[in-house]
Amino acid sequence: MWRDALLIAAKDLRIEFRSKVTLNLILPFAFVVLIIFAFALDTSPGTLQKVAPGLFWLAVLFSSIFSVDRAVAIETDDNAGDGLLVYGVDPGGIFLGKVVSVFVQLFLLEIFLLLGVVILYGPKIGGWLLMLASAFFATIGLCAAGVTYSQLASGSRAKQTLLPLLLVPVVSPVLLAATKAWQDAFAVTSSLGDPWLRLLIVFAVVYLALGAIFYSSILEG
């Protein structure tokens, strides 16, 4: 399973690297979302600083929808997913591989996006470690749930619209917890014992486990 996961992750990252979707396209998109939010909400800079964590995670959420959609689309184009089954690749490995590849992309994106938030909204940041840790686990949760649901929705011809409908409610607790954790991190007194961080770890573990267990049934079904 681990070997298959690495194989899949390497292939997906190579395909992504070749088409440069994350760097060239999703990232600017996320920036545009940040700017649009700032405009549409039309509030004073003070408010923007307060809502910066929420906006950041909203932008990440929207980007993640595109990323997981692409990760699964790679296999449905030209029925390549059937190929994987015929080659005897472990479905759990496929799942983990896709989670890893999406995770790498999203995490990179978050780093750049954070720079954007800092520059555009200028919040003060107290606890870097808490921010990093919560981003790490929140992203795992997002990726695991995203890949699972993207595969669930893939049978439908209206996949691109079914996916957000299913996924957004499922990951919104992650979104909320991550937002809260970052708000805590922005405060001066913050620690790694933050309860939101613990919640994020629980989500990450639960979604990863559910995905790894059920992915094979979804692929087979």
């Binding site: 070749r18 088409s19 190929g83 015929v86 080659y87 005897g88």
Partner: protein, 225 residues
């Protein structure tokens, strides 16, 4: 076997042993593609029983898959990877001998710039050749070929026939769907006609104008209901 709620295959009773070359014929929509997908363990069987190479297709369809080489109407390739990268990936995924990638690509005529060309830029026939090269390097036990000749030029057709013949000689089984009258050097040992999702005609061995290559003694049964 259902698609949505439509019964695609309604009753097939069919066996094939090693060294056999089964030609599956039938009208468009008869269920040939679905039959091959079922044998490869990709279509679930909802009623009845079925087994291939001794594996029960109803209980554990997954067990047959890695022993099977499937060439379908689609080629299962990644459009953004090159020919070489696709073949390498398939060989890695199936834990096959990686060193054969280059030689099997060149054996189907994909050399030079073509090995490093993305599949999305390739012509219909070139894509099929990439898929074929991967199959040749993998050497599966059971070859399921869905209209393999379509889009291939005559040189490649000949090559495919002779490659299949040499595989069959060492005990591989070939199930082949084709609408074309046969002229190549691959001679079916058996012709099965499918219609309305069931076998309506099964002619084999001495009933054929010519007896196929040696059928080895120890017979593994491939039985699909």
């Amino acid at each position: 076997m259902l698609s949505g709620n439509f019964p695609i295959l309604t009753g097939l009773d069919f066996e094939a042993g090693p060294g056999e070359v089964v030609l599956v014929k039938g009208r468009n929509g008869a269920g040939k593609t679905s039959f091959l997908r079922a044998v490869a363990g990709l279509l679930r069987i909802t009623r009845g029983s079925a087994s291939v190479l001794g594996v029960d297709l109803v209980a554990n369809p997954a067990d047959i898959r890695h022993r099977v080489g499937l060439l379908g109407h689609e080629s299962f390739l990644y459009e953004d990877l090159t020919a070489r990268e696709n073949v390498d990936f398939i060989l890695k995924a199936t834990r096959s001998d990686m060193s054969k990638a280059g030689s099997s690509l060149s054996s189907v005529g994909l050399t030079g710039r073509l090995t490093d060309l993305r599949v999305s830029k390739m012509s219909a026939g070139q894509r099929k050749k990439v898929a074929l090269a991967a199959l040749l390097a993998r050497e599966p036990e059971l070859w399921l070929l869905d209209e393999p000749y379509a889009a291939l030029d005559s040189w490649t057709r000949e090559f495919l026939d002779s490659a299949l013949n040499s595989r069959v000689a060492v005990g591989a089984t070939v199930i082949l769907v084709s609408h074309e009258a046969h002229h190549g050097s691959l001679v079916p040992t058996r012709v099965v006609e499918i219609g309305g999702g069931k076998v309506i005609n099964d002619v084999s061995g001495s009933d054929l104008y010519q007896v196929g290559p040696q059928v080895t003694a120890q017979k593994r049964s491939g039985h699909v209901a």
